[in-house]
Assembly symmetry: C2
Homo-oligomer: 397 residues x 2
């Protein structure tokens, strides 16, 4: 048989799901696993989602306009205006999740050989999108010691070549939980303007910022609006990951024209999910604020718990619902597999994501894990306790 796609064959499988088979085996043996490996929150979707889903009764389930249904475009526009970001319906395309939004963005920007600067550690599913769009990621490493903030201007500038096309930023950060400060956005904006780069900002955790922090967004940075593409989604903001409704926003007409062609090529986004999303956005700030408060509480539980485990190092996350921590082990992957295969305490264990998959630079993150604190506080407390007990036994082996 002829050789299949080389780039797809060479691509590693998602690190977030890499332990799945060990988890399946452990559960088959009756072990209870606290799962902190996937960013799938347990909170409830607002009832307005089901209200709108149930109200939809059209005799035929038709294709909708490729850009999105007018009611949803209006809700997204209103949400942005309330947030203080000035976008109009013409700037918005509804997509099948934030994933499709980023995919269409890179398909629109990238020519063969083009590089995209990305702060690492970064969300590992970006790698699939880099692979299929041909974008070459160039990682600017950020460090736990510095709360995964930008080290300095040079750390970015030294990575810029004649092939650099864009800077991709996730703010608040997954897997870091870092919220970029206004001066960091300004720095990125200045670099983008000076070097004529596009800015892609994935802001799906936008309002999940803790300790009374202000929301920071490139949407507030006016002088980059012509080179900015915002990626957004209902997944995390409304506990609706499975709805697969995302948004791509730009004020650059040429970019919108290419995104429009890509949207036409895939016809339209699920009709009923778009109606459900209208319900989600109609909740205004009610649900968004509840979710932020709940995750701040959970962040405290997890962070405090980790402080009590000898040898574990992590900085206090500022937003989203993730944190990266260093463990006193050589290989976090081996430790996590051991936790699933060997460890148990009262029939229970805990699962997180090995962090090396979030780094593009080889050898980084080997002793780090990502924790998604997506369980109720009591369960989180127990999960962190299990992590501590596991580490104690593992270190003494």
């Amino acid at each position: 048989m002829k050789q299949l796609s080389e780039r797809m064959s060479n691509m590693e499988a998602s690190s977030v799901r890499i332990l799945t088979k060990y988890a399946v085996d452990a559960e088959a043996k009756g072990k209870k696993i606290y799962k902190l490996n996937i960013g799938q929150p347990d909170l409830h979707v607002p009832e307005e989602y089901y209200r709108n889903i149930h109200a939809f009764q059209e005799p035929t389930v038709e294709y909708m306009p490729s850009q999105g249904i007018p009611e949803l475009l209006k809700e997204v526009e209103d949400y942005y205006k309330n947030t203080g970001i000035d976008v109009n319906k013409e700037n918005i395309y509804i997509t099948t999740g934030g994933t499709e939004a980023l995919m269409f963005t890179l398909f629109s920007l990238i020519n063969p050989g083009d590089e995209v600067i990305v702060l690492e550690p970064y969300y590992s599913n970006y790698n699939t999108i880099f692979t299929i769009t041909g974008a070459k990621p160039v990682a600017v490493t950020t460090y736990a010691e510095n709360g995964f903030h930008i080290r300095d201007r040079a750390s970015i500038e030294q990575k810029i070549t004649e092939n650099t096309k864009a800077i991709l930023v996730t703010n608040p950060g997954n897997p870091t939980g870092t919220v970029l400060r206004e001066d960091e956005l300004r720095l990125i904006a200045d670099i983008a303007i000076e070097n004529d780069l596009y800015i892609i900002c994935d802001e799906v955790y936008r309002e999940m910022v803790f300790d009374n922090r202000k929301v920071t967004s490139f949407g507030f940075v006016e002088d980059v609006h012509d080179r900015l593409i915002l990626i957004d989604s209902v997944s995390k903001r409304y506990n609706a990951c499975g709805a697969r409704i995302g948004v791509v926003i730009s004020k650059n007409k040429e970019i919108l024209q290419l995104i429009s062609k890509l949207c036409q090529g895939r016809l339209s986004v699920s009709t009923i999910e778009q109606h459900g999303a209208v319900g989600l956005y109609s909740t205004g700030m009610r649900v968004i604020n509840q979710i932020r408060d709940e995750f701040e509480k959970r962040r405290n539980v997890v962070y405090d718990g980790l402080q009590n485990i000898p040898g574990v190092i992590c900085t206090k996350p500022e937003g989203a619902f993730y944190l990266i921590c260093k463990l006193p082990v050589q290989s976090a992957s081996n430790f996590l597999i051991w936790m699933l295969e060997e460890f148990e305490d009262n029939g229970e264990t805990v699962m997180a994501a090995p962090a090396d998959g979030f780094y593009a630079t080889e050898a980084l993150g080997k002793n780090e894990i990502r924790i998604a604190y997506v369980l109720e506080p009591d369960k989180l407390k127990r999960a962190i306790e299990l992590l501590g007990k596991g580490l104690q036994i593992y270190s003494n082996k």
Copy 2:
């Protein structure tokens, strides 16, 4: 600003939607348009879709397994077993529409420079997928005179080069309405085996075959199962285009492994739409047979109507719900625009898709249109009458 994606900039917009702006203007002036330009049927979605959608009440709308929910995989497996095609759950991935299914297939197969042989005229949205996956389409022209069947073995073989990777077939055909005979499938199978090519078959109109024809499918051609990828969808079979639920099927483990990575990269398909699709498949052959009978009736109305218009040439479509016909004009596009801008009869006009967008070969299809017979028989009768009246006036201008 730096240059955006060259390949996306060079890609033409969808020919199916190219007349949209003229239609919007005509409707703004109060003109009624019979729309035969888009494959959006007016038939009702089975109530089992809404039954399952309304039964779904999970507190959190979670990501589902990337492959699809087990209930839907089971229904698809059962549907195929009933059809006489032996596939198991492991061979099936649920996708966001047939579009994503084809996209993932080509991403899995294609290396730079690889060519895909495709019978033309073909579904124009394939072009977006060719563009983003880097597949180079090589068209084998089929002709109205021959009912758009394969002319001979040489017509395909002469297009094969060392770069040919796959043959893509749509059966039954869009935009042609042609149902390939068993001997044609055998011919393609033999060519694929001899030249070590993959076969991609888009069979979303599978059961829509008229005049008591037998369903033909590469699923029945056993000796190509290791090189076959089937594309399928609920869109046309259950009047659920807006549900965006498709399927990709293969027995080639290497291909499935790459498709699995792509599925993981986009996380999952809409949760509630998958439950709706379980309802669709649960209807067995009831809805499928109704739809086939209804479209056969409509096919007769359209075909008979066209026979009465002087200068119009078309062969009787054998399946799907499309036909291509030649008009006695130089430019079908100009005529269709004229129909929207200038023509009216009792305030009514008709819209179809210019067929040149369905040909990759320059200069072909200029005097042809595609008619999607997706309206009730009475409306179709009137639509074809309008086409005839328009042609009469246009020819005498």
